[in-house]
Assembly symmetry: D3
Homo-oligomer: 231 residues x 6
């Protein structure tokens, strides 16, 4: 690994980022063709947060959070820090002191493929974190990693400046270049869903709304009245 810290990278316009954030993870993920989702073991430390931001990235080593101080200086307001590990680890690499620093620099949250601690303080500070574990296990500052380079986090590839959207359903990454396109697709999707929701609420069935009956029959679904007709 190149042990490097990159000072600058391009970010998407904040109005696009914020619009994606309002739409939420499930919608954005569908709108970009069901890719870019981090694995489902990434969970928020408290429920109800929904954020979006530009990814400032970190590659850290197990049990070592030194690079978190390096990235702190390079955060721009509106960023979300995204941390991948060089090997699986659940140590508590982030706590209330670093959160204080990240907030002071304008970070909107943290996504970390490792552990986090001081979760009660972080909840009170209203600083949202998605992590693999909660662990009080502290870390050393001995080995240099990298900051603002491409990184794999929980099975997703994240490039600095990609848009990260995170809520109670998980975390999704949108490549910066596709942000505008994905936003449009997501907004169309939401509009369409509104209409469907009203129909479903009134008792109409998805089978009819989406005209599924003929294809179900084609694919071999058979209806019977009672289970014992089966044998």
């Amino acid at each position: 690994m190149k042990t490097v810290a990159v000072r600058n990278f391009e970010r998407a316009p904040l109005e696009i980022i914020d619009a994606l954030g309002e739409l939420g993870v499930a919608t954005v993920h569908e709108a970009q063709g069901r890719v870019g989702l981090l694995q489902s073991y990434m969970r928020p430390i408290y429920s109800g947060a929904r954020i979006a931001g530009s990814a400032a990235t970190v590659i850290a080593h197990p049990g070592d959070n030194w690079m978190m101080h390096v990235v702190a200086e390079l955060i721009k307001p509106g960023d979300i820090v995204v941390v991948g590990l060089s090997a699986p680890n659940t140590d508590g690499m982030f706590g209330d002191l670093l959160a204080t620093s990240f907030m002071a620099q304008g970070a909107r949250g943290l996504v970390i493929d490792a552990g986090v601690r001081d979760v009660l303080d972080l909840t009170e500070m209203n600083f949202p974190v998605w992590s693999k574990a909660i662990s009080a296990k502290g870390t050393v500052k001995e080995t240099v990693g990298a900051v603002n380079v491409p990184v794999v986090v929980a099975g997703a590839h994240v490039v600095p400046g990609d848009i990260v959207v995170a809520d109670d359903d998980g975390v999704v990454v949108v490549p910066r270049e596709s942000a505008q396109t994905v936003l449009k697709a997501a907004e169309a999707r939401v509009a369409n869903e509104e209409a469907k929701r009203a129909q479903l609420k009134s008792g109409a069935l998805g089978l009819d709304i989406y005209i599924m009956r003929p294809r179900l029959a084609d694919e071999g679904l058979v209806y019977v009245d009672k289970l014992d007709e089966l044998s």
Copy 2:
């Protein structure tokens, strides 16, 4: 697998179902002899819900939620939809649109051996779900499964019409034929526990209430005053 949807199955009387629901999972599970429990990885998406209902069942394939629309039509008020997978999967097979439809048809909740999404919406809608994972990963509608046939869910065998009880402790299944018997055993158990609770609260010991001391001695438990008497 027979790709079939069964329209009808027998259900237990609602008053028995509701009575079981009020007793909760731990009590019902004990009362039927410590069987029928789904594995403990099945967790509620929010805490505090306690429901019971008749199982309407689904067998679905990984990454495919087509059968959820088929079961929607066959739900009767008071049902809980119970979904088993043909292979392990954590995709988000259920979200707020399907929940809107299920609620409109009278479903009381969902038990799914896979993932679920839109959990913030589901919480606001007060639609309880017990699942293996929370994941924004959407699904296709390509492969036909089965509806209202026997299914294995999280290690338990569920037949359509079985009574499902679910709360913060997990999910238990009661065969329809034993519902009345289990209810009686559970009610006796609760009555008995009430008396015990008062005794324990006043400082009496289980050792004495349950007359455990002689059997503990028989089985070889020895009391010593200090650890260093042991060597």
Copy 3:
């Protein structure tokens, strides 16, 4: 295993225990040199509790909670019951009746490397539990284990009388003999952190506060302006 119950063991003074409890798990763990932490799969059944107490210990067998009744008699006010298993198990070995008894005897909480049930009741009773699982699966009372002997719990070795501190970040164990020393180190740490927190909040960087820049350069961290300067 010696099937024994030890009646007495030395406990640390309550004022030291309480002081450690107020400092919390992450601070205490750091202050004693990053050891003594239980593995991060041990989670509280509800958030917001922070307790400390003297460890009263249990070795139990899978699916058998008989020893919980034996320990109940030996609890002194201020104790936390700490339960290790002779083999991995997630059964619900503890519920509201035992909690009623433990509270009546003065226990402050439970740490158990297995499952727990009646979690809604326990939450209402305000009896905090850290466990490996939540499971309604009940247990038998057939096999004798041991009480108040050294035990391994979630990867940590606990001796009766050790101080247990538990909060939303996890559980840490402090040997009774080191309690005073660890408390002093922890208090010094907190005082130091207060000052740092203020600096970080005002926008100062850890890089400067901790004088990290020269060592980062020594260890090979290179700054570049843009990612494409790397190739």
Copy 4:
């Protein structure tokens, strides 16, 4: 649970069982419509075994192998003992003594949703076992379960007399009533595969043999010459 041991159940003809065994797990599983597979954590203790037999079933409790002695008496030559647990457990519930007994009664192997021990001896005895774990942890004989009743094992529902097929790919269960039908489908499948294998070996492509190209185009697969044509 009814604490019962059932002496008799119907078995399929041995020639059908043996024919299914020769076809192997993957083929049989496909032939019956991709159902009946135990979860993939069930692994053989040594490689190269391929067996089939009638399921004699056991429900056992965590850490308790008493029922293994009860089933031993009820084994008929050609049976495979199939053991489900009332709660997850990895204790070594079976070793060389029980294997000696099972072999003497004519059992062909063991499928157990828990641990096994003496694996070196079992390998030398050529007694195949598929298990969830290997563990030297022994068990007690304290709690009664059930023998030859329906049981859930590693996510599959097994009825006594069902045909179990097991090899290096895992374990599959065929309902006794469908054995003949599944065998025919499996044999047809194998015949068809032989022809395909020769074609593929000679360099022909599945795309052409299975006439996939038009449907791939319909479903939206686009070919490009170089990755950079994509943007």
Copy 5:
């Protein structure tokens, strides 16, 4: 996801690939700075294989192996097929028929972040596979993915044409552009290790060979003669 199949990508010279293969995973991984390793759950289906090749990549959906037929046509002799999934899955997406086809096209092996089946046949065919699971669960051919685009596999980012090295220690990926540099570093490392091995074999200590004693003292390691000197 762009549903695309890319026909061509650049490959490294075979002599470099083969040289990396001979050095093995651990050496190559160290030589490129301890990055590029797939997570350790990726295991070979049989031991003793050591291969290297150019990555031909696939993105597949859970339970769907359609893209395996698409990549078969695009394999060049010396390639290793590398398969990432759009969501976690353990289905057996690859068996002896596909292996016959891949071998006929010149593939050296398969690395798949899912399951594989027919492992006894694959072993006899001498076709090495590294996978997340062994499972007889078959798959459908319903949903289009992508071929020869960048993909995340078991936590590593793989670009078509990257060099994959795999042996009993796991799987490592070397970017095509760094292949020559990594090879040189790896060869230097091996030469250095040879000398060290002889010294260690003769009883010399790493403490002296690597001159570790002064730094150990600096970092605070203290030697005592007996454990009880510690208190």
Copy 6:
């Protein structure tokens, strides 16, 4: 943690150690009352090895194998090195160079609650290792741990000088003080098993040999002839 290396500790006589080794893990574990077993995720890197030795212990940090060089100097012929981690980790902390050194110092094997690499070389060298994972991920030498102090490894507490027995069934630890007693109990057990094995082989049933029938009836086991008698 005290960062200390202890030069000397008492060891059991080699003839006792070797006798325990010949009896194997399952027998020794039973003979000492079913305690002392490491968790079942600890697996040998190759099958067929059975060793016993005195525990020389290490506490290491995630991703850091520095202490392995410190322990090398303190190994006495007949020792098994036992490594615990301060936090969960799967990095490959041990390979063929360290194995060469350990063998030169007289070590009989390694038990490590982390990863190991160069497993093909270690197999050829006939140096047995029980580990949590196989991983090519190398480690740094930055943080001081401890050597020859008590340590928790895979859920077991190991004191330097304890006897470690390891084979295909797992790893068990016998306290040095109980070695003689456990050996006698184990030998008695083996003698007893020999007689039982012959009886079982001839077709006698455990039900009769161990006189289980009356107690089974007492505990409520009921025999029926057919499953349908149950309802």
